[in-house]
């Protein structure tokens, strides 16, 4: 699915634009716990979250996530926006809840990462 389609499906709005909208995103994921993102985040996935502090962007950077969607129409503070601009991460905002944002994307064909197994070095 392209970033453009993600935005359309979520009736979203771009807050920080760092990617071509025709770029593909392979899968999606959602979490409010950043440790979960670090543990289960997959390179290139779209991250849905309700957490808007700058650490969300930092976490995305470490996990190799380039597109972050803030759910429930949350507006991140200026520091978050500035950091995303610096680090080349695209930020999107949607009025849907976490549940519905994920549901809509999944329904539109954006897969998740399937069953998760915690093993040593399972990256």
């Amino acid at each position: 699915m392209t970033i453009r389609e993600v935005i359309e499906v979520l009736s979203g709005q771009i807050l920080v634009d760092n990617h071509e909208l025709d770029n593909d995103v392979p899968m999606g994921g959602a979490a409010d716990l950043m440790s979960d993102v670090l543990a289960f985040g997959t390179e290139g996935m779209v991250l849905m979250t309700g957490l808007t502090n700058p650490q969300t962007v930092r976490t995305a950077e470490m996990a190799g996530i380039e597109v972050v969607v803030f759910v429930r129409d949350k507006t991140p503070p200026p520091e978050t926006i500035a950091l995303a601009r610096d680090l080349g991460i695209t930020l999107i905002r949607t009025g849907y809840t976490m549940y519905e944002a994920c549901g809509r994307l999944y329904n539109a064909g954006l897969p998740g990462r399937g069953l998760v197994k915690i093993e040593n070095n399972s990256w």
Binding site: R58, M62, E119
Partner: protein, 320 residues
């Protein structure tokens, strides 16, 4: 040109629209002009062809070849309408450059007038306008990449350029306690440095995640901050995070996923779920945790760069 650069050209040809590679200041010819007047116009404007326009309607196209033909025949006084090509091949402004290239190439046209959805003339595309535009696009994307490449090229060669029995690059970071605004800066710098040193991306990612978790632990759990040291060698990366904070009561318990002593405000920020050390352990090839109440904490982690034979070792011999 390397393969990568050719791919970039192909990508541009596929993704760029004719609109961005056309010339917009189109010189047009009026049907009332003679071939002699057309010749002077072309010489003056240094162009090799022009659409013939009656008002907003394109009635033909005339080229330098037509001019040369009539010059030979001594017919420069003829009206342009007698010698122009009447069936004009045009291209939509939203078409891809690929389509323009194939029309120009295979069908032998030297120029294509560009029209919008309503058939109105908006520009003209020739091999020349395309090459100039594509070179400009490539130049912009290359300049960015070259700067980064040069930095990583220099850094990557350190293990060959500096001669010793065992060279290592040591990076040190001081992490302040409770400073959430700057938390993650060390991990971010380490990630960039390892990329420049030529460590393969999958290992860079594991190191970045582990160091970030370790850095957050220093920020969250210590009252004096701590120091992260990264020792990069050609075959392995050793990292330690040391603090003189309160220490850990039970080093076995803290390794259990979900066990957390983080205060509520940290949890509100999305951290302190008790996954940190478990996550570090999962990322690292070797992990050691030394701590006791009141005696600070020392975390040692190690990443092997060539244990899986996949070429994780820094490869400085490859020329880029």
């Amino acid at each position: 040109m390397t393969t990568q650069e050719i791919t970039k050209v192909q990508e541009l040809i596929y993704t760029t629209r004719v609109e961005t590679v056309m010339a917009t200041n189109v010189v047009v010819v009026d049907p009332s002009m003679t071939m002699g007047e057309v010749k002077r116009l072309m010489q003056e404007k240094r162009i090799s062809g022009a659409p013939v326009m009656r008002g907003d309607t394109m009635v033909g196209i005339v080229s330098m070849t037509d001019v040369l033909d009539v010059t030979e025949q001594g017919l420069l006084g003829d009206p342009v309408t007698r010698h122009m090509t009447r069936e004009v091949k045009t291209i939509l402004k939203d078409s891809s450059v690929l389509e323009a290239v194939s029309n120009l190439d295979r069908q032998g046209f030297a120029r294509l007038p560009v029209v919008d959805q309503n058939g109105r003339l908006v520009g003209i595309v020739t091999t020349g306008t395309m090459i100039r535009a594509l070179l400009r696009e490539m130049d912009i994307s290359f300049q960015k990449k070259e700067a980064e490449k040069l930095q990583s090229y220099r850094a990557r060669h350190i293990f060959q350029d500096i001669v010793s029995d065992d060279t290592s690059v040591i990076l040190r970071f001081v992490v302040a306690e409770k400073d959430f605004d700057n938390a993650g800066k060390a991990a971010s710098a380490i990630k960039k440095s390892l990329q420049r040193l030529g460590v393969i991306p999958s290992i860079v990612r594991r190191v970045a995640v582990a160091v970030y978790e370790a850095e957050m632990n220093l920020v969250i759990h210590t009252d004096v901050g701590g120091v992260i040291t990264v020792d990069v060698r050609s075959r392995r990366i050793k990292i330690n995070a040391v603090d003189h904070g309160p220490g850990i009561e039970d080093v076995v318990k803290v390794l259990q996923p979900g066990y957390s002593t983080a205060p509520e405000w940290i949890r509100d920020m999305g951290f302190g779920a008790g996954m940190g050390l478990a996550n570090i352990k999962r990322c690292a090839d070797v992990m050691k945790l030394l701590s006791g109440p009141g005696s600070g904490t020392r975390l040692d982690i190690e990443f092997l760069l060539d244990n899986d034979g996949s070429g994780g070792r820094m490869d400085a011999s490859k020329k880029t």
